[in-house]
Symmetry: C2
């Protein structure tokens, strides 16, 4: 199982728009065969930080996801609302 | 529901020791009433990054956790094996 943490630093005044656009990505990604979970989370200490947390059945499934039309298109739209590139980590169970 | 992502940057040669010590923290934390899940994950691109991902029923439950004997003692031990302070984010559902 693969876990993804993708932390976004959202521009001032853009968090509502980010969430609105993200909702389409979440809905479509959850429908992918390899997806286990896909959600967006808000930092309790800094509302400008919005982070996707995702679980995938396999690395292959994640790679397929990153080539989907919805991922490519929506990530580009979300990129415009962020201060800088997302911090992205891809994890496997450590123990 | 509260999610915690605590990213550790482990000193060279110390990841096995980190995992061994972390296993006690994971076991005891999973037994806490407010815990939903508690795991340790390895970055697929950098094996020196080990990250705790946790889910808690409430902020109160997380705060109680951070005062337990096992958390305070074991986090101090794990701190000695890290290059720098952990990156810690505490999240709630954004939508």
């Amino acid at each position: 199982m693969i876990k993804v943490v993708a932390k976004g630093y959202i521009k001032s005044g853009q968090t509502d728009k980010f969430k609105e656009i993200a909702s389409e990505l979440i809905k479509k990604s959850r429908n992918e065969e390899a997806n286990i979970s896909y959600g967006l989370y808000e930092d309790t200490n800094n509302k400008q930080i919005l982070t996707f947390m995702e679980e995938w059945k396999s690395k292959d499934g994640l790679e397929k996801h990153m080539k989907t039309e919805h991922f490519v298109r929506i990530m580009a739209e979300l990129g415009k609302l962020q201060e800088k590139d997302m911090d992205i980590n891809i994890y496997t169970n450590a123990m």
